[in-house]
Symmetry: C2
Subunit: 347 residues, 2 copies
């Protein structure tokens, strides 16, 4: 089969690899219908993170179950399934707490020795605990729902988790720092799933602002730094915002998050803190802040998000502004790295 | 009147100062019956924090109202009152959120231009929003309740707040790092006020362990560092603790807190992060931790804590293992700085 491979920073190709196969009785093999490129894939592409040469790429995908191991009971060949970006047994203490990204038997697609989502098929470990079937399968969803379903495999759930970590609830006022796919999905999750009343999106790109407004952002702030903080404070009667989603992950964005948070506010952060290894503690201490971090446990949210997609009440697919065939994956990486594309879907 | 003055690191005296007086119509003057020395007072005593020469000391006290300004409506001369360590109007947005230590009109006793608790009398700004009367006054409480009442002015409430920030609730398992007065009071608050079922106290001092057990600690762990983490994990089925109170404030104690926290756990920290300016973010991100900090809003808890003291159901006074007259305050500082005393009460 063919799959995307990482060669070195800036160099991604599609090449022949061994076919995906059932290695364990708890595995399934999924034939990929759609996958995508994640902001987190750009770390190695930009040379910020070390990655093994010829390692597989991609961790967001959906497809059709092609084979199941002897111990798999929840799926049959032909099922349309969505995979969260990590596999999990969904039975260990962490999974039972809804923290499937801390699963004792979990792992990430694309890690050494595993298949990646950006390929023709994927071996899915712990299939029963990992995959979620789309009710009615492809017949019910049709091709047109696939982008919205694909978005639930990471960004829609990750953005939602950021809003959850920020303590967002019915009627909340929320600020979202970052207008990438995750930030935009934080807007969508805050409004559509959690019932936020007001969402302030920090964005200076007209196209992303438009998506954010479509997702329910009520206010757009283009200013950054101290000016951005002042603008958000002005929008909130000088008090700041109780719920801040930090979806950039730089010292500057964290400083903004802390600066615009209301006394006693909460900051939710779902990005890998590669460029923000240390958080100054004095400011959160003075202002009674709650700092909540985590790798989004997509599996927790997936059944609900899929149900919303099939019911037509949630659609994060506007974050996919570019669609390419797998063969052109390199073009997709280049476009996202150059910020010419918010997010690339692969067919 | 006489009051404790800071001269320089290691040099504290009692000297004549101007009598406390009503400067604003919202002030009260309180004749101090009991005050104490706080762990946070030791920062300047040890030369870690800069402090103005001849500035007043102390922020924990109780006493009798001696005079009230024209706008003070809640208190009368002769009332027995407890002061939290900061004053607050109790009407601004932060106060209404229960964050009186972020009061728009607040301040700390002992700050430049204010009276300190370690003196014969104190001018209390924002008296209506700050002081809490002890029902029945001195006649009802008697001298014997004064130490327990005094403890509510800071440590009892600060320890409780640490447990609150750690998310402690009915039936919780909690770990407390730090066996100073605040750590010990975190044990007491977790058990007595919040209903924790199991509290693991990290302590290697027999006298402090005894107080901790008296306050409800169910387990004592003497080991520190990786060994301490392993011991706590062993006590919790390998999973770690959902609720950790960090009451030391060093990189080592924070590392322990993060190491013993269960996936998705919460860390509550109430100490000034002088020696812990930066928190590494990668570990909390990987383990879904919630980091909650703040200067304890004692005023929020004070009415409830005073009611528990007068009802005989809460008594943090065992943290006072030394009692000295105000004239010997220097001896008290030396004893606490040398860790010969957990906490010194001044009469």
């Amino acid at each position: 089969m063919r799959a995307a491979l990482y060669l070195s920073a800036g160099d991604v190709i599609v090449d022949e690899v061994p076919d995906a196969f059932l290695a364990e009785p708890t595995d399934a093999v999924v034939r990929v219908l759609r996958s995508c490129i994640c902001g987190s894939d750009l770390g190695s592409y930009r040379g910020v993170i070390t990655r093994a040469a010829r390692s597989r790429l991609g961790h967001e995908f959906l497809g059709i179950v092609e084979a199941v191991g002897a111990d798999v009971t929840s799926f049959r060949v032909g099922d349309l399934v969505v995979a969260p970006f990590q596999w999990s047994d969904n039975t260990c203490p962490a999974c039972l707490d809804g923290l499937q990204t801390s699963c004792a038997n979990g792992g990430t697609f694309g890690a050494p020795g595993t298949d990646g989502g950006q390929g023709e098929a994927v071996r899915v470990p712990q299939a029963d605990g990992t995959l979620v079937a789309v009710p009615g399968g492809l017949d019910a969803s049709g091709e047109e729902l696939l982008p919205a379903l694909l978005a639930t495999s990471d960004v829609a759930a990750t953005g939602l988790h950021g809003a959850v970590l920020a303590g967002t609830g019915e009627g909340s006022t929320v600020a979202v720092i970052g207008d990438g796919a995750v930030g935009l999905c934080a807007v969508l999750g805050a409004v559509t799933v959690l019932g936020a009343e007001r969402v302030i999106l920090m964005s200076r790109h007209a196209d992303r602002q438009a998506i954010g407004k479509g997702f329910g952002a009520t206010d757009i702030v283009e200013a950054r730094g101290e000016e951005g903080i002042a603008a958000v404070r002005e929008l909130t009667g000088g008090l700041g915002v109780r719920h801040v989603v930090e979806a950039v992950g730089t010292p500057e964005s964290w400083a903004m998050a802390m600066g615009m948070a209301r006394e006693g506010g909460a900051i939710g952060a779902v990005g890998v803190p590669h460029t923000m290894p240390q958080l100054p503690l004095f400011e959160p201490f003075i202002h009674h802040l709650s700092i909540n971090l985590g790798i989004a446990p997509v599996r927790r949210y997936l059944p609900d998000l899929i149900a919303r997609v099939t019911a037509g009440t949630l659609d994060a697919s506007p974050v996919f502004d570019t669609t390419l065939p797998l063969a052109q994956v390199a073009k997709g990486y280049a476009a996202m790295s150059a910020r010419e594309s918010v997010k690339v879907m692969l067919t």
